[in-house]
Amino acid sequence: MVSSAQRVLLLCLFTGIQVLPAAASESSINLRKGVTDISHQVYDLHMTIFYICVVIALLVFGVMLYAMVFHRKSRGAKPANFHESIKVEIAWTIVPFLILIAMAVPATSTLIDMEDASQADLTIRVTGSQWKWHYQYHGHGIEFYSLLDTPMEQIQNKWIKGDDYLLEVDKPLIIPTERKVRFLMTSDDVIHSWWVPDFAVKKDANPGFINEAWTRVNEAGIYRGQCAELCGKDHGFMPIVVKAVPPAEFDSWMLQQKEFIRQAKAEEQRLLAMSMSFDELMAEGEKVYGAYCAACHQPNGAGLPGVFPGLINSVVTRGPVADHIEIVLNGKNGTAMQAFAKQLTLKQLAAVITYERNAWGMNSGDIVQPKDVHLHKQGQ
């Protein structure tokens, strides 16, 4: 009873089924399998639902194509007149329903696993702000900011773009492999979303609320992701880089970090006792400004009219130094101007304020020293 046309259709069906997975396993066009048990489960769910869709598509479009070819008027087809069949209607309501139930079962169990962040070995607080990530290791006193590290010249097409263009940061998040790491997500301003595809973790960072997610990485390596919620102008420029290292290496990294923090504190104390030269401050200030302030106030200090104020001869940069220190330290509530007191060291703060009062032809000659910033902080 199988006509030649039906044979052709069947052939297409089978070759289709064989070709698709081959094409889909190419990673530039498909989900990554990732490096956690969860991400593997997610990948399998993805492929399952994909194949279900392929099979339904082949059936439905197969029937449709057959009708389109063989029930053409130009081939002399005479229209039938049937237009109702309760049995058929019930069948094609129930069958998809059953398929969906079959799909919902594994999806439910994976979801419940994903949302169970209990009994973590390590907790990291992830805070998004325009446009960088802040990582704090709970109970270890280690914290740092992680910023885009791609040079502006690459973005503006002046230099050749590197392999990790837009996916590189100054300080990656370091986590141990084979341990359950819990993330607590929040935000200092708008909503961001922390996403690392290889972990199958994507969770929004909501201002004023805390979200949980977790991962347990099986393989050491460097994993890259991006912010996944529109968070303003530079949403496309706040990547995430996670370096997963074996537990032993992680422990020694922690010790090393604690040592760095001690050294930095000592350095800070030393700075309070002495003064930096104007040139030193300006050089450092230019660097800090480029990394932390230029996104809003623009590299040339002109700002974006109506959105971010220009700093050239502005009320604050021309006004009293104390006001300037105040706004950079504590930001301004209810605006995009964030508090930099915790993000920058005293030296960096002093440098960037000095820079903002002398750059772009303002040459006020004002010098702000780390100790001035320190005194201002104390005075609060």
Partner: protein
């Protein structure tokens, strides 16, 4: 049948349309207002399309070339707003105005003056929206979803203009919906019982109820944004006891029914065209009606599938996952019904049918990716990537827009009295079909491979596909100019004159009227057998 046609022609002689601009400003004629809506929607489609061209030009290569990120965000935002509220929705309202009275044998819409008002406030709404792009600090740049607090504390000063223009759009939609409901409920010709109504009328009736239910919610959302930004309330600000995620609940409680507002009338159109060119009655008319109604009802309890990553309790996630999977069942039933209608028909491929067949296949692609997105654990990977962009463009462009184009090709001869240029129409079809897939299909790949949406620049691994996508985008944009030329030619009556029964298999009251349809029709109700 012919007797109906001749009586109506006689009636038109007493008073025809006014002359000049006044005809359009003061018209209360459903056909004139339908025409206004359709032209307005088309102009908005080209405007929003021009913005899409800017977006695609910037994304042609990695790196920043043409526009600044802040302006890029304004382009994606206003593109989305214009396409949704300026192109798709007014176009369907235009079709409703033209066709619903004719299809149910009524002389006009029930509330003709309100009809005039609901159209004429639209140009103001969109002038305000477009003008906001020139305000210092630029136009809205927070995405068409305007999530707080990006749209409140952190937005520019044009936000007030944005809120005002969305309010006007909402008022217009509500008035349009009231008109549709009142017309259908009260003005059906004797014998036009509920279950004899054409499916386009049915789907629009259900759509109109959705509109009335959710447009006020949108109005509430923008008002809260307004007061949060300018009047010190804290609906969405945690510091004042509010919650930014609540904004998303409110927005998507409007937003998900909204996507069905943009697709249910399309179902009605396809259910009209496919039987005509299959020369066979629609398979499962009543199940189509019930499927539409159940989709509409279910659309109120799936909204949080847009919010799986916001950190809901796991039970809520499960609930919304199951409901979302469930809604794909009645949607599937529709597709099965269309295929069953074609089965053992006598099919011919006139231009409306070509677009309808493309609709069935490509809309179903969008349905499949929707089903994939419903699976919460996997949605975590897809969400806010180009996979989603691919999904909603398959359902909106090859879904809603293709159905609108199909409807135009189906009824344009009835509106103008001449057959449009078939050569241009076929060029339009093939160019659109090929380019739209070049444009949107590879978006699935780059989305899965990890490219987030709403970014002006991307890492180099995505470069190749993006180039192809942009080329497809430019080609799709240009293809629509063919359509523009074709429609202008038809409106100037260049083409072969057609008789009342333009398509041999077409059923329905509109085909009893002469072509072009007279200015006033069915002043005496027709007899329905």
């Amino acid at each position: 049948m012919n007797s109906v046609a001749s009586t109506t022609t006689q009636d038109t002689d007493d008073h025809g349309p006014a002359k000049g601009i006044k005809r359009w400003l003061f018209t209360t004629n459903h056909k004139d207002i339908g025409t206004l809506y359709l032209w307005f929607a088309f102009i908005m489609f080209l405007t929003g399309g021009a913005m899409a061209m800017v977006i695609r030009a910037e994304l042609f290569q990695p790196g920043l070339q043409i526009v600044e990120p802040h302006f890029f965000n304004q382009m994606t935002t206003v593109h989305g707003l214009i396409m949704v509220f300026g192109a798709v929705m007014p176009a369907f309202t235009g079709l409703a105005n033209w066709m619903i009275p004719i299809m149910i044998g009524a002389p006009d819409m029930a509330l003709p003056r309100m009809n005039n008002l609901s159209f004429w406030i639209l140009p103001f709404a969109f002038t305000i929206l477009l003008a906001s792009l020139f305000v210092e600090g630029g136009g809205p740049a927070f995405g068409w979803t305007f999530y707080a607090p990006l749209s409140t504390t952190y937005s520019g000063d044009s936000t007030a203009l944005f809120v005002f223009s969305v309010h006007i759009m909402g008022i217009s939609s509500i008035m349009g919906a009231i008109n549709v409901i009142v017309t259908i409920c009260n003005m059906r010709a004797p014998g036009m019982t509920w279950m004899k109504m054409p499916l386009f009328v049915w789907t629009w009736l259900i759509t109109a109820f959705l509109l009335i239910a959710v447009m006020p919610v949108l109005a509430g959302a923008v008002t809260m944004v307004l007061t949060d930004k300018y009047f010190g309330t804290s609906f969405f600000d945690a510091a004042g006891g509010g919650d930014p995620v609540m904004f998303q609940h409110i927005f998507w409680f409007f937003g998900h029914p909204e996507v069905y507002i943009m697709i249910l009338p399309a179902f009605g159109i396809i259910s009209t065209i496919v039987p005509t060119f299959s020369r066979k009655p629609l398979f499962g008319y009543s199940s189509m009606v019930y499927a539409t109604a159940s989709i509409a009802l279910l659309s109120f309890i799936v909204w949080a599938h847009h919010m799986f990553t916001t950190g809901m309790p796991v039970y809520a996630e499960l609930f919304f996952m199951y409901c979302t999977m469930l809604i794909s069942v009645p949607t599937g039933v529709k597709v099965f019904n269309w295929v069953a209608t074609m089965w053992r028909g006598a099919i011919s491929y006139e231009v409306p049918m070509m677009f309808s067949v493309a609709f069935i296949v490509l809309f179903t692609f969008g349905g499949f990716s929707g089903l994939m997105l419903a699976i919460t654990p996997v949605d975590f990977q897809y969400h806010d990537t180009y996979f989603v962009v691919a999904h909603f463009h398959y359902v909106l462009v090859t879904g809603a827009i293709f159905s609108l184009i199909a409807a135009t090709y189906y009824w344009l001869p009835k509106w103008t009295g001449v057959m449009y240029d078939l050569v241009l129409a076929k060029w339009h079809f093939w160019c659109s079909l090929i380019s739209v897939n070049l444009l949107f299909f590879p978006m699935h790949f780059i989305g899965l491979a990890g490219m987030p949406r709403r970014i002006p620049d991307y890492s180099i691994q995505f470069a190749g596909w993006n180039q192809l996508i942009s080329i497809g985008g430019f080609a799709f944009g240009l293809s629509q100019l063919i359509f523009l030329v074709l429609v202008i030619k038809a409106c100037r009556k260049r083409g072969a004159v057609v008789n009342h029964q333009v398509w041999d298999g077409a059923k329905g009251l509109e085909w009893q009227l002469p072509s072009p349809a007279p200015y006033h029709t069915f002043e005496k109700p027709p007899k329905i057998e």
